[in-house]
């Protein structure tokens, strides 16, 4: 069965174009133009050198740009028209959970009662914020099956590092000097990078032919010097680590801790909880699972929840519900300290709470169910052209392979991805995870309809046909986009990082 495609599933109106480049703000600058308007203050307007010793003043004027408000608006509006986004069409970027993010949550974050509050205001004057944080912490614990959480980490990777420092603090408190952290070879790059920053060595655990952690290899890698293991489950291939209970037991048996990389939490909401699987430390990517738009690369938020035995080590101070019902900042007893300049990415936290409140427990469960349903439908629908790397039921994303297209027509996964851009879809994640050859990882998310999935499938069918008819054209794709294929090597060969750099 295949549904009729959604007439509007893809960016049928090809959202972006422009074959001429938009000038930079600096090219638009004209001496003496300006846009700014400031409040009339009546404050005595002394010259700067009456206030500050001359030695501190810059003799040259730092050139920003001199543009009118009108040109500023035109410039950034036009730039926005050169940018694909979820709001324009499907964005099946595997591992990134590019779901539709409710505008309602944007409105929450725009409330001056939240966004005009100084982070250094005393707790007595920011009780609403503290309550949001305490409430969110409680809900995240309920979702993950953990005991307490820190909301400070600003993104997933920051959460990972925080988790590893918690692991370290735990072992150190036990007088336990451990050196290694195990990581599956399919893991996201932030995992090994965080391990290094956490002061541990990475031991890579190979995957087996089913795309899962090789339990024997894992056991072989374990030992008393192992501080813990970092896993994401479902893993980055989109498969559930079925032997998780055995894994957990094995790691715990050597005194190690289990770290859950929650980037894929979207798949298991309401189905299974990291805490119940035996994880001790869990980070969540609120920007993935709980609907903060990704902002072109951020912001995110990466709270870390922990099991009871780690609660005392959490970063602090933490918003805490006091016996009298009020809220205050309290530092956990053996806190590892701050991991953020203030309290974390607060507005992202507020968004996440509002998202959780709208969905409720049942709605969150449905989120996972439909995300998994979509991924499986797409995997099944595409099996003739892009077979799955591991052909069985997947979770919220499916890792497909362009190996056949490559073998037959010399068309690589990257070519398919670029051609999809021409079709009005964002590309899937390409060449990740590294363990899968010609990987194309699709994560449709729960907010796409089956008609949209069908439209994507038909686009891929057209591309496959093109691969047969005119493979060369695919190497040149995309052409209908604001710029055609970009010379990445040149950018790296001679770095031009600013408008002032030598060319």
């Amino acid at each position: 069965m295949s549904k009729a495609p959604a007439p509007g599933g893809r960016a049928a109106s090809a959202p972006i174009m422009g074959h001429e480049s938009e000038p930079t703000l600096f090219q638009m600058s004209v001496p003496d133009r300006s846009a700014y308007q400031l409040r009339t203050t009546g404050v005595p307007a002394l010259e700067l050198d009456q206030l500050v010793p001359r030695a501190h003043l810059n003799e040259v004027v730092v050139a920003i740009a001199e543009v009118s408000e009108r040109d500023l608006v035109a410039h950034f509006t036009r730039l926005s028209h050169r940018q694909f986004s979820v709001d324009l069409g499907m964005y099946p970027l595997g591992s990134c959970t590019m779901k539709y993010n409710p505008k309602f949550c944007d409105a929450i974050a725009n409330d001056p009662g939240l966004n005009a509050v100084h982070p250094g205001a005393p707790a007595s004057l920011s009780q609403g914020w503290l309550e949001i944080m305490v409430t969110l912490e409680e809900k995240l614990c309920a979702i993950t099956g953990m005991s307490a959480a820190t909301l400070q980490p600003a993104a997933g990777a920051a959460g990972e590092l925080t988790g590893l420092l918690l692991m370290r603090a735990f072992h150190e408190t036990n007088g336990d000097d451990r050196r290694r952290v195990l990581i599956p070879d399919s893991a996201h790059g932030t995992n090994p990078a965080s391990v290094t920053l956490g002061g541990y060595e990475v031991t890579t655990v190979p995957s087996n032919e089913r795309g899962l952690v090789d339990l024997d290899a894992l056991k072989a890698a374990l030992g008393p010097d192992v501080a813990g293991i970092m896993l994401t489950n479902p893993n980055t291939v989109g498969l559930f680590e079925e032997e998780i209970i055995d894994i957990a037991r094995a790691v715990h048996d050597v005194g190690g801790l289990l770290y859950y990389d929650g980037a894929n939490l979207n798949a298991i909401l309401g189905a299974v909880r990291p805490g119940d699987m035996g994880f001790d430390i869990v980070h969540m990517n609120l920007h993935k699972t709980f609907a903060t738009p990704h902002g072109g690369g951020g912001p995110g938020a990466g709270p870390v929840a922990v099991a009871q035995r780690l609660v005392d080590f959490l970063p602090g101070p933490k918003a805490t519900r006091m016996p009298d019902g009020s809220f205050d900042w309290v530092a956990p007893e053996r806190s590892i300290g701050r991991v953020h300049g203030w309290h974390g990415n607060s507005l992202v936290l507020a968004r996440a709470l509002s998202y959780i409140d709208v969905h409720g427990g049942e709605g969150l469960t449905r989120v996972a169910q439909h995300a998994v349903l979509n991924a499986n439908w797409l995997r099944h629908r595409l099996r003739a052209i892009l077979p799955a790397a591991y052909d069985r039921v997947c979770m919220h994303e499916c890792t497909l392979k362009a190996t056949e297209l490559k073998a037959k027509f010399g068309v690589r996964g990257l070519d398919v991805a670029k051609a999809l851009l021409e079709e009005g879809f964002h590309a899937p994640t390409v060449y990740f995870p590294l363990i899968v050859e010609e990987a194309l990882m699709f994560e449709p998310t729960e907010t796409e309809s089956v008609q949209t999935l069908e439209a994507l499938a038909q686009a891929i069918e057209r591309i496959a046909q093109r691969a047969q008819d005119d493979p060369e054209s695919l190497h040149r794709a995309p052409q209908s986009t604001p710029v055609s294929r970009v010379d990445e090597a040149r950018a790296a060969r001679h770095l031009i990082a600013t408008a002032d750099a030598e060319r």
Binding site: A45, I244, G341, A417, L495
Partner: protein, 454 residues
């Protein structure tokens, strides 16, 4: 009524049929039954958007300190600057907001070019040629700078002036547990870093604030000389608004600049999401943390932008990456580019100047009051510390009753004693003035404080 999921029960049924399955549960069969949640999540049932809005209106009301109703003199890296409607409108364009990291440059020129412009501005403000495409916040940017210093020198000793914001230092201490850096905090004496009081030999980095967190303008040539002597990286944590008029980090000889970019268009936001500014010298480019956008051409030789030098990054270099950063603060970086575009060359100068004017005006009025004395006579920019006859935290509370968020109690900021303060820390209040404060408001502050201290 709906949540945000499109599937109807018909959709679900026919999709399951296509998969040869009977129920949604079948999709989760791989999960060992021993750990499957039997009864779902213990989370209250979902509410409609307006119902949730009502709950949040309650939170909102309970935040008395909002800057829209309580005049804000709190700073410490988070400033109540003007953010005009035009910047909000542009920064909230959904194309910027709902995209992700520009992995496909052909359809991401909007974000890429905006970041390129942002990078250019950060480079100009810092006086250093290699900016990146944003970090989480100033505190974590400082940690990245320390890691860079470690990479550059292979040494562990990080000598940090306690003129660096107490929170940033706290974050540095936390992450040092993992990196095994030795963090040496240099005390302030009279508001100025007392470099002589510590042994800087073998330092990987010398770190100074500019102005320091108490607002004081230190002579950075002292720290620079130490860095040069030790062949350490010289890291400057600077106020980017002040950077609009002060000697730049680069001019002082810094190798790395870090700063808090919130001041450029991001609201106070109870502390986040903010924006970690970062720039370094050419010779550190291979150790740069996070993303960087570079200019190049497309296959038709048209100018194009792309994230570059990716080989440093975690997704390629993995455990050998220069940093673990992936998701960063791009939207705030785009916002900063827009806000700076709005301010323009002379607008930035103007707000910097007004901050200084307002701060000096207020300072001069306040130091005449009974119960108020200076912490230092050193020159300051837009922030200054006062010593009060009552505990600063108490004064903040009493001033709040008068509609004024009077500043930050330094003892709260430091969570106790701190090498930055060589007097009774409970009595020290950090006061900030931005370009938004009127003379009337400043005068009111003076009279209110007089009352409170009376």
């Amino acid at each position: 009524m709906a949540d945000y999921l499109p599937h109807t029960s018909d959709d679900v049924a026919s999709m399951l049929e296509f998969l040869g399955m009977n129920s949604l549960d079948d999709l989760f069969a791989q999960i060992p039954s021993a750990v499957r949640l039997a009864n779902g999540l213990e989370i209250e049932p979902g509410l409609s958007e307006p119902d949730v809005a009502a709950i949040f209106a309650g939170y909102s009301r309970a935040n008395e300190a909002r800057a829209t109703t309580m005049t804000c003199y709190a700073g410490g890296g988070a400033y109540d600057h003007e953010v005009p409607a035009v910047v909000k409108a542009l920064a909230s364009r959904s194309e910027f907001v709902t995209a992700y990291t520009p992995y496909q440059p052909e359809v991401a020129q909007g974000v890429l070019q905006a970041i390129f412009e942002y990078q250019t501005l950060v480079a100009r403000l810092s006086g250093l040629p290699i900016p990146n495409a944003s970090l989480y916040d100033a505190a974590t940017a400082l940690v990245e700078a320390l890691n860079m210093a470690h990479g550059a020198t292979d040494r562990q000793k990080m000598v940090i002036s306690s003129g660096i914001h107490p929170h940033w230092r706290a974050v540095a201490r936390t992450f040092a547990h993992g990196t095994a850096h030795e963090i040496v905090e240099v005390p302030l004496r009279n508001g100025v870093t007392d470099w002589d009081s510590v042994d800087v030999t073998g330092a990987a980095a010398i770190v100074s604030g500019y102005p320091n967190y108490l607002g004081v303008l230190e002579d950075l040539s002292v720290a620079k000389a130490l860095a040069t002597r030790e062949d350490a990286l010289f890291i400057v944590g600077a106020d980017p608004v002040a950077a609009g008029v002060l000697k730049s980090a680069g001019q002082w000889g810094a190798d790395v600049f870090v700063g808090e970019g919130q001041a450029f268009g991001t609201p106070l936001s109870f502390g986040g999401p903010y924006l970690g500014l970062f720039a370094c010298s050419e010779d550190q480019v291979r150790r740069l943390p996070g993303r960087i956008v570079g200019e190049t051409v497309d296959s038709s030789d048209r100018r194009a932008f792309v994230t570059t030098l990716r080989a440093r990054e975690q997704d390629i270099r993995r455990e050998k990456a220069t940093s673990n950063v992936c998701t960063n603060q791009t939207l705030m970086a785009v916002t900063a580019a827009i806000q700076l575009g709005w301010l323009g060359t002379y607008g930035l100068r103007e707000i910097a100047t007004r901050c200084a004017q307002g701060a000096h005006y207020l300072h001069d009025q306040l130091v005449g009051l009974d119960g108020v004395s200076v912490v230092t006579d050193e020159p300051f920019f837009r922030e200054f510390a006062l010593r009060l006859s009552l505990p600063a935290a108490l004064v903040v509370e009493r001033m709040a009753e008068r509609g004024v968020l009077a500043g930050l109690a330094v003892a709260d900021l430091c969570a106790g004693a701190d090498p930055s303060i060589d007097m009774d820390i409970e009595s020290v209040l950090l006061v900030t003035v931005t370009e938004r404060r009127t003379k009337e408001e400043l005068d009111y502050y003076v009279s209110a404080l007089k009352e409170v201290l009376a």
